[in-house]
Structures are given as structure tokens and as C-alpha cells.
């Protein structure tokens, strides 16, 4: 039974009505890591934001459902939705430099939610936060708790954010390109850490990335997105063995394999792009027809 199930999720810009998500469906089960890939602007982050309820004000959901543990978040009143998401989910953001409040110490930024939203007492929240920091292999958690973000390195801050995400045994984590803002050497450590924490807590993890090398390392399943439309939904093994959709195949070919860094880079062929664009257009026409019919 999947903890997160997204069905037919559509979203568009309020202004010109441009479609951003086109009937997206995906699911993540406890303990599963699902990769969400696609080129820049495909709508990967938008899906994560829709799940967590932090879509930009300019974007509106026009249809579909987001089932969290069986409850459709889109039908809940805003306060109730916020509390549910706050209690069960967490986000590991892209840029650790901007994701911590510069005016507050690390400790309260981690424990605040435990006390305010989950109703823990302060002492327990504190102990657990230090424990979570230790789980991320940060030395001297007590000192980290007292530090301000500017006193920590980028890698340390990302560890703090990971500790914060896993601190209350979350059921679902959305990680939105959690390593792209980091140094290459730090990237690997952080990636390993996320995988380790996810396995320990048995969390459902939605992993947004455009790096198929990363997908092959940490994910079990994979959703390929193009222009807000799901192109392929498959297991990682079968994907790397034989992608089902021509666009996925082209994407795979276009990625410099981490196993073969010198390999040539082939851009997605024009014919493949034309075909997938036609698919998108057909889906839009169908949606339009359904609305008027």
C-alpha cells in the first residue's frame, strides 16, 4: 500500500492558463525511493510542491488527487492539510545556504516543529534533535544546535536539514535536487547519507533529480516527466536495461553515464521530441474535449 498516491494531477498558471502539470500520476510506498526525472522546467519541483502544499501563488491545481495515507489532501481545509503534511512529511531542499533562517539558531529550527506541531515537550525534542544530528555524522551536535547557519559550511547545513527532515520519523520525504548546490566531493557523501537515513527510517522518498546516474544509485522506481506529463513509470532496473518510451531512451542516451564519463553526449533527437510533443498536444486536446463534452 503506497503512502503517497498522486492521480491525474493537473496544474496551470493562473495568468495565461499555461499548463504546468498534465494529469500526473505516481505513487511512493514506504521504504521506496522513487526518482522523478525530466529536463529543466518539466515540472518536477512543481509536483513536490503540490504534494507539500507550497505551490507558488501564481499556480493553481485544476484537477486530480493527492492521497496521503489514503486521504486526499486537496479536499482538506488548508489548516488541516498543513498540519497533516507537517506531521508526516518533510522536504530536503536544493540549496542549504538559503533554506535555514539566518536569524535563528539551528536547534530551534529543528525542534520548533516537534514542539509546536507534534506537541512534544522541549526536553524530548532537544534530545531527539541532537540524536538526529548525530545520525547525520555531524560531530558535536550540541555545538551545532547552538550555531547560527552562517557559522556552518554548506555540507554541514545540508546535514542539518537532513537531520531536520528525518527528526520525527517522517512517512514521506521529498528531496528536490538535494545535492546540486553542493561541492562534487560533498555531493556523494550527502547522497549516501540520504540513502542511509531513508533505509533506517523506512521512509517513502520522492527524489527529484535530472541526474540519471544518481537515480541508478539510490532509486528503485522512476517517473520520467516531459512538459508536466508522465512519459514513463517503471522500475530502475528495467529502465536502465530497456527504457519503454523513445523519449526516455533518448534521455538516457543524452546523459553522460557516470560509468562512462568520457562517453559522447547525444542530444534528444528532433524526431523524438516531435513525437512526445504530439503526445502532449493529444493529451491536452483530450482534456479539453472532456471539459466541453
Amino acid at each position: 500500500m503506497s503512502f503517497l498516491v498522486v492521480r491525474g494531477l493537473s496544474a496551470r498558471l493562473k495568468g495565461d492558463g499555461a499548463r504546468l502539470l498534465r494529469g500526473v500520476g505516481l505513487s511512493v510506498a514506504p521504504g521506496e525511493v522513487r526518482g522523478l526525472v525530466g529536463e529543466s522546467g518539466a515540472g518536477k519541483s512543481m509536483i513536490g510542491k503540490a504534494v507539500l502544499g507550497i505551490l507558488p501563488q501564481a499556480v493553481e491545481v485544476t484537477g486530480g488527487e493527492i492521497l496521503l495515507d489514503g486521504t486526499d489532501l486537496l479536499t482538506l481545509p488548508p489548516g488541516e492539510r498543513r498540519r497533516r503534511v507537517g506531521a508526516a512529511c518533510a522536504l530536503i531542499p536544493q540549496d542549504p545556504l538559503t533554506a535555514l533562517n539566518p536569524a535563528r539558531r539551528i536547534g530551534p529550527q529543528i525542534t520548533g516543529r516537534l514542539v509546536d506541531i507534534l506537541g512534544w515537550d522541549r526536553a524530548r525534542a532537544r534530545t531527539r534533535a541532537e540524536e538526529a544530528l548525530a545520525e547525520t555524522h555531524l560531530p558535536d551536535p550540541e555545538r551545532i544546535m547552538r550555531a547560527y547557519p552562517h557559522q556552518l559550511s554548506g555540507g554541514q547545513r545540508q546535514r542539518c536539514l537532513i537531520a531536520s527532515a528525518f527528526v520525527a520519523g517522517p512517512r514521506l520525504i521529498v528531496a528536490d535536487e538535494p545535492t546540486t548546490a553542493l561541492d562534487v566531493t560533498v555531493q556523494k557523501q550527502i547522497l549516501r547519507l540520504i540513502a542511509e537515513m531513508q533505509a533506517r527510517h523506512g521512509t517513502a522518498l520522492l527524489f527529484v533529480t535530472h541526474d540519471l546516474g544518481v537515480v541508478s544509485k539510490v532509486c528503485q522506481s522512476l517517473t520520467v516527466l516531459y512538459a508536466g506529463m508522465v512519459v514513463e513509470d517503471t522500475g530502475v532496473r528495467s529502465f536502465f536495461r530497456a527504457p519503454a518510451h523513445p523519449y526516455s531512451a533518448a534521455l538516457l542516451a543524452a546523459t553522460p553515464r557516470y560509468t562512462d564519463p568520457g562517453g559522447s553526449l547525444t542530444p534528444v533527437p528532433e524526431a523524438v521530441l516531435a513525437a512526445v510533443r504530439a503526445e502532449v498536444a493529444a493529451r491536452d486536446a483530450a482534456a479539453e474535449g472532456a471539459r466541453h463534452g
Partner: protein, 336 residues
């Protein structure tokens, strides 16, 4: 340690600034036309009388010589004697200072309160008509200077709806137990709500006149910084943690958005203190500003010098306090 050194350095530069101010004021008020002595004597006074009186006040010497005598006195705490009141300048000035301080601080408090509420409400209700209304009100408050607000307030709450006093600092017929000139502070400490009410009824209109333009500036700037801060990642992250709008604005955005506003408030507060000169006159409020205008009208040179120096000291102190507050509120400055 670093902080202490910075403060000492600031005090040293402030001393230089004050010395410069003293020189400029001293020279300027002696060069502009108008002679205190000829204004004091009746029209029929002989040249001989005038000369004797000038010598009595030391005005017959050269300007540098006068300055040295005056500066020597100042360094020993003697600011000279007022020509019109025949009292020590320092006593006169310090006697009036509390009235002006209380008025300025009350005005500052009102400005922070009104501006803060406007900015927070505008942020909370962004994109609604309330936000648009707040923007319009801000613009109006900004485009009218404090003394015009004073006239408007006198007309509204002194004449048309006479609910507040428009003249003086306190009703003289009341039993006034004061031992200091900090009337408002003392009334509060003595637990005398009747006196507090009477004082506030006199102070509220001049304070509002001073506060409205500053409130508008605070409201606009704070709202702008809040707006920018609300889009930052850590605010978004707080939302995913289950926090609602109020917490997000007050706990996550405000502590960061407040810093640029604070710096500006420091500068603007000194303008507000400058504004008391005209506002006190308008409301016949017995403070430094009113004294300053009398001193200028009477060409009371020692008194003018004393008042200007005192204003300069206050401005310097305000700037220092604001800088310290910025350090205290900004962890990046506090913990290097």
C-alpha cells in the same frame, strides 16, 4: 572586545563631529545680521550703553577669542548664561530636555506601532483590498510633512471634535507633585493615572503629527522587506513543517526583515527630533524646540549654541544606539 573598540572609536569620531558643529554654529550665528544687545535695549539707548553691554557679554572681542572663552567654559561644564533669561544655559536646556525627549519617544513608539501594524497587516492580507488601502494610506501619510499633520490634527481633534488639548504640556491647575521634569515617566512611576491621562491628552496630537510620516516610512519599508523575505526558502520550508501564515510572518520573516528598517528608523528618528522644533511651537509645548525658537528670535547666542550642541549630542547618541541594536539583532555581526 571588538564591540568595545568599535564603540570607543565611534565616541572619538563623535567628539570630532561635535567640535565641528560647535565651531560652525558659533561662527554662523555671529556672522548673520542681528545683534542681541541692540534687541535688548530700548530704542533710545546711546552708543555708549550698547558698547558697555557688548563688553559685558564679551561680544566686543574677536570671534576666535570668544570661541576660546566659550569652549573653555564648555569643557568645564559651563555653557554660559542666557542673555534673555539671565540663567545658566545648561540649566535651561536640561530643564527643557525631558519634555522633548518624552514627546519624541512617544512619537517614535506611535510610529513603530502604526508602521509595524500596517506592514504586518499588509503582508498578512497581501493581494487583498486591505493591502491596497494600506498602500494608499501610506502614500498619503508620506506626502504631507509633520507640521501640516499638526495643523490637520489641531483642526480635527482640537477644534471640530475637541477631545484633546492642543496647547501646553499639562493642565497647570492640577496638583503637580513632580520632582523631575520627566512628567510622563514620573506620573507613571507614581501610579497617577489622572496625571498620565492629562499629559497624554496634551502630548497625543503633537506626537501623532511627528509620528505619522515616520509610521508611513516604517510601514512601507518593513512591508517591502517582509514581501521579499516571504519568498525565501526558509520561509517555504517552515510552511512544509506545518506552520501557518502568522507564525511564518512573525517568527521566520520578521526577524530578518526588521534589520534594514531598523537602520532607517535611526536616521528618521533624528529627523523626528528635529521636527519637534516646529511642532512644539505649534502646540505651545514647553520643550527644547520651543526654547530654540525663542532663542533664535532673541538672538540669545549662548542659548542657541547650547541647544544646538545638545541636539547634536542627541543625534549622535541615537545613531550609536541604532548601530548597537543592529549588531544585537544580527547574528552575523554578533557572532563573527
Amino acid at each position: 572586545m571588538r564591540l568595545l573598540r568599535a564603540i570607543l572609536l565611534r565616541l572619538a569620531t563623535s567628539a570630532v563631529t561635535l567640535a565641528g558643529v560647535a565651531v560652525i554654529v558659533f561662527v554662523v550665528i555671529r556672522v548673520v545680521p542681528g545683534d542681541p544687545v541692540s534687541m535688548m535695549l530700548p530704542p533710545g539707548a546711546t552708543d555708549d550703553d550698547i558698547a558697555r553691554l557688548r563688553a559685558f557679554y564679551g561680544l566686543d572681542r574677536s570671534i576666535p577669542a570668544q570661541f576660546l572663552i566659550w569652549a573653555g567654559g564648555v569643557l568645564q561644564g559651563d555653557f554660559g548664561t542666557s542673555i534673555t533669561n539671565r540663567q545658566p544655559v545648561l540649566d535651561l536646556v536640561l530643564g527643557r530636555l525631558p519634555a522633548t525627549l518624552e514627546l519624541s519617544v512617544l512619537a517614535l513608539g506611535l510610529a513603530v506601532l502604526m508602521g509595524g501594524v500596517a506592514a504586518l497587516t499588509g503582508t498578512r492580507l497581501r493581494g487583498t483590498r486591505t493591502e491596497a488601502a494600506i498602500d494608499v494610506a501610506n502614500g498619503m501619510a508620506l506626502s504631507v510633512p509633520d507640521f501640516l499633520w499638526g495643523l490637520v490634527l489641531v483642526l480635527l481633534f482640537g477644534v471640530i471634535f475637541p477631545v484633546f488639548n492642543i496647547s501646553g504640556r499639562v493642565t497647570p491647575s492640577l496638583d503637580l507633585p513632580f520632582t523631575t521634569n520627566f512628567y510622563l515617566l514620573e506620573s507613571i512611576l507614581r501610579l497617577r493615572p489622572d496625571l498620565v491621562a492629562d499629559l497624554l491628552s496634551h502630548m497625543i496630537l503633537p506626537a501623532l503629527a511627528l509620528a505619522i510620516p515616520l509610521a508611513a516610512i516604517i510601514g512601507q519599508l518593513l512591508k517591502q522587506s517582509l514581501k521579499e523575505t516571504m519568498h525565501l526558502d526558509y520561509v517555504t520550508l517552515a510552511r512544509t513543517r506545518g506552520y501557518g501564515e502568522n507564525h511564518v510572518i512573525l517568527r521566520e520573516a520578521l526577524p530578518n526583515a526588521i534589520l534594514p528598517t531598523l537602520t532607517l528608523v535611526g536616521v528618521q528618528f533624528t529627523f523626528l527630533i528635529g521636527g519637534t522644533v516646529i511642532i512644539e511651537r505649534l502646540f505651545s509645548y514647553e520643550g527644547l524646540g520651543n526654547l530654540a525658537i525663542d532663542a533664535v528670535i532673541n538672538r540669545d547666542l549662548p542659548l542657541i549654541q547650547g541647544i544646538v550642541i545638545l541636539f547634536a549630542v542627541i543625534f549622535t547618541a541615537v545613531n550609536l544606539i541604532v548601530d548597537l541594536a543592529c549588531v544585537a539583532l544580527n547574528p552575523r555581526l554578533r557572532h563573527g
